[in-house]
């Protein structure tokens, strides 16, 4: 039975159609493709149940919800997979991290960052948010966000400081760009 259209439903459907691809990309940049659909579904379920709280630019808010959904999802997955992926777990982290599709040198450099620093950096570099938007997604104040971003930049520069590291990343970047 088709349900009647309501302003709330219409608004939700518009929200979903406009932003689901961005949220899916956010998830895929940090986690396996296989869980993207589930995480996006849960994120928009939260949005549907909290529609009255969604004001202004909804995308940073949606990223923030997706970040928390993803964190819990990865924890759950790891709880279940520990017995078959023990060694991977020992090296892994229980928070959203970096997709395995990222080049190894850059992935290592990003994983070497603290969780908050890495997320701050990726919200700017991958999601293309402005710092004020990214602070909403990260769930912190603008001042705190800028501090995190500054630390991320400093740590990443230190990690990638050597010419060989940069060359390695550049090599992969060129390959990716030419694909």
């Amino acid at each position: 039975m088709e349900q009647a259209s309501t302003p709330a439903r219409d608004r939700f459907e518009a929200l979903f159609e406009r932003y689901h691809a961005d949220v899916a990309a956010y998830v895929r940049r940090r986690a396996p493709n296989s869980i993207a659909e589930d995480v996006v579904g849960e994120t928009f379920l939260v949005a549907w149940r909290s529609l009255e709280r969604v004001h202004g630019d909804p995308l940073p808010w949606l990223y923030g919800v997706a970040r928390r959904v993803l964190a819990n999802d990865l924890r759950r997955e790891r709880r279940r997979g520990v017995l078959t992926a023990r060694l991977a777990w020992e090296r892994g982290q229980p928070e959203p991290a970096v997709s395995a599709d990222v080049s190894e040198p850059m992935r290592a450099a990003l994983l070497a960052l603290g969780e908050h620093e890495r997320e701050a950096l990726l919200l700017i570099a991958w999601e293309g948010l402005k710092p004020a938007q990214a602070a909403v997604a990260a769930g912190c104040s603008s001042a705190t966000f800028r501090t995190r971003l500054h630390r991320a930049r400093r740590h990443l520069q230190r990690t990638l400081g050597s010419k060989s590291s940069i060359d390695e990343c550049l090599g992969v970047a060129k390959e990716a760009g030419g694909a």
């Binding site: 939700f12 899916a24 939260v46 928390r68 959904v69």
Partner: protein
Amino acid sequence: MSDWLDLVRAANPVPRPQPFGADVRERMKASILAHDPGSAGVNGGESARTPFARMVRKVPRLRLFVVVGGLLLVAGGTAAALGVLGGQPSAPPIGKFTGTTGSGGAAATGYSVSVTPNLDAGSIGWCLSDRVYFEQGSAGGLGCAHAPLPGRPIVALGGGYSGSRRGDVTATTTSLVYLTTSEVAAVRVSPTLTILTRADAQLPRGYRIAIDIHQTITHGHSPRPDFARGRAAVALNAAGQPFGLPATTYPFVPPHDPSVFWQPGRTNGVGPQPKVHKPPPGACEVDTGNLVGVNLFFGWVVEHVHGFPDLAGKSYLSCANTQFGYGGEGVIAAILLDAQHPGTAPEPLPDAKPVPGHPQTFNEPAIATPAGTRRPRAGNPAITARRVGDAWLVVQASGTLAQRLTVLDRLGACIRLTGPACPAPAT
């Protein structure tokens, strides 16, 4: 390109967002809009996954070789005698597909369905998994936190599809699985499909199961199976009368007691805080102090246990969950309480047998696999448990029974449902 931010941008693994297909979008929206807008908080982490999303989450599609075959049937279906009720008998929890000769080894040969306690700290209920076996591997899925709630005689639904493809030939296995309370005689999935439930020794006491599973071989395009009908399934009593809410109303946020995550070497907050080296105070604690060489991974602890007296069936509440490496194996240790009345003796573990020479200790073997199929590397490993007061101290791990017993014998458990939290203060 030497700028550090450009380097990060260039490493973006998904440079351009890709929308989901129209069918996926419509399915997701329908699944979400089927629920009340409500006033849930914005803590996405507290939102349970959609059961529908879990149900249709496809298992890995195996790329095998040329498939030649025909329609395959589930073997061994035996129905409970249910008098006036009509319907097809449930398939057994473990079975083989017949008629796979000539499929070139691509068709699935068997399957298994299992129900195991949910060990996630703070969660109650059961995990439902199904797995399909091929000659060269297996594929499956797992969903947890299925709790027996009042008015919901269908406790859990699961299922999915998997298959192999070569050229224009596709072998597809589809399954629908319903875990029900004991009052359910059948599950009506659609006007043309009613599955009679069955009891089974592998199930927890007081539960029944209804399984529909089959495999088809097609040439050319293989349409995506329609699982939407599975969500509308209703429970039927012995007189054939529907009762309770349909399967689709399973709650998005199952009842649970909040748990606290901890991990050695990490802080539990933002800013300069001391790093965690042991579980935080809580109602329960798994003590690994006597395991020499243990490598603690992380864990969860329930701070305050409340219990769920209104449950419609027996179940466990996991009070603590600690995961670690020991002797080359990954281990999950948990403390299970009676979910309805914590502090009273919990139910025996389903399908668990006493371990000779180890008082109060029981072993629940790993999921049996159909005869002639290779045991998968993934899936639920075996569970060995010891009664500790009115709780189970549970060890879930691969390896041998002797290895699990070694771990279990050296583990300690602290359970304090009232009074000071675990761990006990040093004296």
